[in-house]
Amino acid sequence: MKQRYQNRIELLQGTLDLLVLQTLRWGAQHGYGIALAIRANSGDILQVDTGSLYPALHRLERRKLIAAEWKTSENNQRVRVYRLSAAGKKKLASERSRWAQISQAIAGILGPAGEGSEA
């Protein structure tokens, strides 16, 4: 439980956008579904805060990276479903390469230090 708590990472703004876009690549989804998917795909490590998720969704919609429409779910409930737009796909590609750069850079900094502490 303790480990779980520590791993609940506050997601950074740009990162959340990236995760949302990535999740929508597999198909249209509503907000709750996106949150579930991110949690599941991160092995329960990343818990998306609703207070960040909806602003992010609407921000992305505003920028026309995703599009929204009202649909009825299998439980006969009206839900707002988001899907990736063409611009969103492009953005996703560029954000992915940027992320690769950052993680590489951070790994570069952390790498030797991490080995040192293990030794």
Partner: protein, 877 residues
């Protein structure tokens, strides 16, 4: 901040529904995992947090984002400026100086050069570049199809008597249709009727509002009353409003021209005045110019005597604004150029500060890029910050401009055209705002572009160590070199002006101003029409003055040197006929009483001075000429014994009896105007030649009173003495001759003072710039210096290393500055005296000064570098 993007209410409702469905789904999943419905609902809500806050925050995503971004940028910028109070203060002060000085000078340029004249259709108003007598004016008024021409005399003085103490007023003679041509309406009464400039109809006068208030107690029934001007009764027909200040702010009254062709000397020979006019409908300035040329032969043909064929040949028609502003234009533009350079230096300095900061902010920028900020967004953020900085500077600069302008207006010579119209107004405020924003964008762009290009990976990888990006540092070095170069130009300009002033104040005006008090004695012109009356009056006055305690000697002259006035007329030199078509020599005549030359210490070089006997009606007419006049007309012959006469007096030859030293008659820079060929002196009395052709000697004279020492006060005794002789004679302008000389120096002094201030600021800003770059570079190289010292470099070598780096930059700047100076100072050669625009001594001295200042600025960071402890420096990194 909520600026709903279109249908805000609908979106709110939908958002509400979306959140509710989220809660439902979460609760249902919990129920499916075995929680009770109540527990599941409760847990889902807790997980969500405050749903209404979530809704609000989400809704805000639809706000007007660019405005929000801007506000965010501003908040962020303000915070980062607050975090660095030292940087902010220096930057804002630097900009305030630059923008403030520019605003002040622009107000001046705007008021004097740009703002349209306050008359109807000012763009149709024109003026001639040369003065004409009355005769040519009348001829051209009849002939011209392109212009409605009127004449305006220069400021003249009028005695007002019969209303309290006699006073001297300043007025102008104008054509009868002067006011209607300008489209000016009177505040009371009427302007002149057509034909009121004809003899016998011209006994009318129009007052300025100031005169009406001060002298006539704002009498509402003033129109129709009669006053006595110069001993002549005139009816007051109108009062002009306060904002009518043509031709000068000093004008207190207007009288009609007295167009009397019977008075040939006055009508054709004297009475030179400015001609102004209005283009007739459909006519252009080019047509008016062409017409002025075609009218010239007609004008010359109308003369009673043969005029040289090249008379008025250089005259042209220009816009009235240009005619009024004249020489002031060049000087103002030079000032504007100088302050723009100052602003450039200020910008370079702030850009440099920002550059230095940009480097230390690289990591901040890299982190923001990593978090997904676009390059454009960061660029905008950085530029917002610099514009914020320059707006702060601009606001403070307005204060600088406000006080600067009042100092400027006080410092400039009061006869600067249109100076009274100069003020900070909406236009100037707009200029300042524009300048501030432009400045911000310009000095913010370079560093911002550099910073936004940050290579994120490299910067983050390099960890704690600052990576001095080569580009930024090269840019800041270039900026410093440019700054030094521009400062160099400004300091050279100031140096040249100060040297001119120094030479000017060192040159003798040709007379000795110490221990002499002067005063204007101004009887009416008609006072002298009775033969001998004026001569007797002045003889008696001088006699009584000499008896006063403290007075050593006293004499009278028709006008002081340095532009105090003289009679002007064409002359004929015996044995030197003027060739056909050549210009007739024009002389200035100083009419003096015998002791004038000795009181003024004007040396007698040859022949004799005047005596009382020369003023007798039966005496032979004699003159004295100045040294350069003698050399010009009688080279090698000594002049004494030669003869000259006035052009219009065929039989009255005058004998040259003496030659005296040259005197600065025209102004502090030159003995005479370019169109004057000689200066002569004549004894006060019946033989004095009058430019107007009058028989009598001039009524208005200036006394020069030599006192035992500077402290002697004689104003009261002088007034009493004059009053005891004649109650109607005003005494005015009692002041030491020294202050008259100082006044003549005022114009060059104010120009050099302004430039000295600009140069001082430029030098200061340049020094700050070099200091900033060198200290920054020392901070960057601490580690390198530490290594050098660890490897055995001595402190002196480190000092030389740092100072050498600064010296290289300064040398490059100085070299470019010299080249720029050689090109630019030529523009100001009109303002210089006795020193060439490319004076090598000034250039060299300024170069040395600048190098000295630059090295001094390097010295502080160099000492810091010298004290670097190698151990600390290495460990620190």
């Amino acid at each position: 901040m909520k600026f709903p993007w279109g249908d805000g209410e609908k979106r709110k409702k939908e958002l509400n529904e979306e959140i509710a469905s989220h809660l439902q789904m979460a609760a249902r999943d919990r129920e499916a995992r075995g929680e009770s419905p109540a527990q599941a609902n409760e847990a889902a809500r807790r997980e969500m947090g405050n749903a209404s806050v979530v809704q609000d925050v989400t809704h805000d995503q639809w706000a007007w984002t660019w405005l929000e971004d801007l506000l965010q940028d501003l908040r962020y910028g303000a915070r980062s400026l607050r975090k660095n109070p030292g940087f902010t203060m220096i930057a804002v002060l630097t900009l305030a100086l630059g923008i403030g000085a520019n605003t002040a000078i622009f107000s001046l340029v705007n008021g004097v050069l740009l703002r349209p004249l306050p008359y109807a259709q000012p763009e149709r108003l024109v003026g001639t570049t040369q003065y004409y007598p009355k005769g040519p004016l009348v001829v051209m008024r009849q002939q011209s199809h392109t212009m409605e021409l009127v004449g305006v005399s220069d400021n003249k003085e009028f005695n007002l008597t019969g209303t309290g103490d006699p006073v001297r007023l300043i007025g102008n003679s104008v054509s009868a249709d002067f006011f209607s041509m300008l489209g000016a309406q009177p505040a009371m009464g009427r302007t002149f009727h057509d034909g009121e400039d004809q003899p016998d109809k011209d006994r009318v006068v129009i007052l300025s509002r100031a005169l009406w208030e001060e002298r006539f107690n704002a009498d509402p029934n003033i129109v129709g009353k009669w006053i006595t001007l110069e001993g002549e009764g005139r009816e007051i027909v109108g009062v002009m409003p306060a904002d009518f200040r043509f031709p000068s702010p000093k004008t207190e009254l207007w009288v009609p021209l007295h167009l009397d062709p019977r008075n040939t000397g006055d009508y054709w020979g004297d009475s030179y005045m400015a001609l102004i006019g209005r283009l007739r409908p459909g006519a252009t300035l080019q047509q008016a110019r062409a017409e002025l040329k075609t009218m010239r032969p007609l004008v010359l043909a109308a003369y009673a005597w043969r005029m040289p064929t090249n008379s008025f040949v250089d005259s042209s028609v220009v816009s009235l604004e240009e005619a009024i502003v004249g020489d002031a234009r060049g000087k103002l533009l030079i000032l504007l150029g100088a302050v723009s350079l100052l602003l450039l230096i200020a910008c370079a300095n702030v850009a440099n500060l920002l550059l230095a900061r940009a480097t230390t902010r690289e990591r901040e920028v890299a982190v923001r890029v990593a978090l997904g900020a676009s390059r454009w967004r960061i660029l905008r953020q950085l530029i917002t910050e610099s514009v914020l900085l320059s707006l702060l500077g601009g606001a403070l600069g307005l204060g600088v401009a406000f006080s600067g302008l009042s100092i400027l207006k006080a410092a400039l010579p009061p006869d600067t055209p249109r100076l009274a119209d100069v003020a900070l107004d909406g236009q100037v405020l707009g200029f300042t705002a524009l300048l501030a924003i432009l400045t911000g964008v310009i000095f913010g762009l370079v560093p911002a572009l550099g910073a936004s290009k940050v290579d994120m990976t490299a910067t983050l990888k390099s960890g704690g160590q600052r990576s001095a990006t080569g580009g930024n540092h090269r840019a800041s070095k270039l900026l410093v070199v440019g700054e030094v170069a521009v400062s160099m130009i400004l300091v050279i300009a100031a140096g040249l002006l100060v040297k001119s002033l120094w030479i000017l104040s060192g040159t003798s005006p040709g007379f000795r101003p110490e221990r002499v008090v002067t005063a204007r004695i101004t009887p009416n012109e008609s006072f002298c029409e009775v033969p001998g009356r004026c001569l007797a009056f002045y003889n008696e006055l001088l006699e009584r003055m000499r008896a006063l305690p403290g007075v050593r000697d006293v004499a009278a002259v028709n006008g002081l040197p340095l532009g105090g006035g003289a009679e002007i007329f064409p002359i004929v030199v015996e044995g030197q006929p003027t060739p056909e078509g050549a210009k007739v020599p024009m002389f200035w005549e100083k009419i003096i009483t015998p002791d004038y030359l000795s009181i003024m210490n004007i040396p007698l070089l040859r022949g004799r001075g005047f005596s009382e006997a020369d003023a007798a009606p039966e005496a032979q007419a004699v003159v004295i000429v100045s040294k350069s006049t003698a050399e010009h007309f009688w080279p090698g012959k000594g002049a004494v014994g030669e003869h000259i006469r006035a052009k219009w007096e065929p039989n009255v030859w005058r004998t040259v009896v003496g030659v005296v030293g040259d005197v600065r008659e025209y102004n502090i820079r030159s003995d005479s105007a370019s169109w004057i060929d000689g200066v002569m002196y004549a004894p006060y009395g019946p033989h004095a030649i009058r430019g107007s052709g009058a028989d009598a000697p001039p009524a208005e004279m200036t006394l020069v009173i030599e006192t035992a020492d500077e402290q002697v006060q004689i104003a009261e005794e002088l007034k009493n003495t004059v009053a005891s002789l004649n109650h109607d004679v005003p005494v005015s302008q009692i002041s030491p001759l020294k202050s008259w000389v100082a006044e003549a120096m005022a114009e060059p002094r104010s120009t050099s003072a302004l430039f000295a201030v600009f140069a001082g600021l430029a030098l200061l800003l340049g020094a700050v710039g070099i200091y900033g770059v060198i200290s920054y570079s020392v901070a960057q190289r601490t580690r390198e210096i530490g290594i050098r010292m660890a490897l055995g470099a001595r402190r002196k070598e480190v000092l030389l290393l740092v100072v050498g780096q600064g010296a290289k930059l300064a040398l490059a700047g100085v070299a470019i500055g010299i080249a720029g100076g050689l090109m630019l100072t030529r523009l100001m050669s009109g303002l210089l005296y006795g020193v060439h625009a490319t004076d090598p001594a000034t250039f060299a001295a300024v170069a040395v000064l600048l190098m000295f200042v630059a090295l001094a600025a390097c010295f502080i960071p160099a000492r810091r570098a010298m004290r670097v402890d190698p151990m600390v420096a290495l460990r620190y990194e």
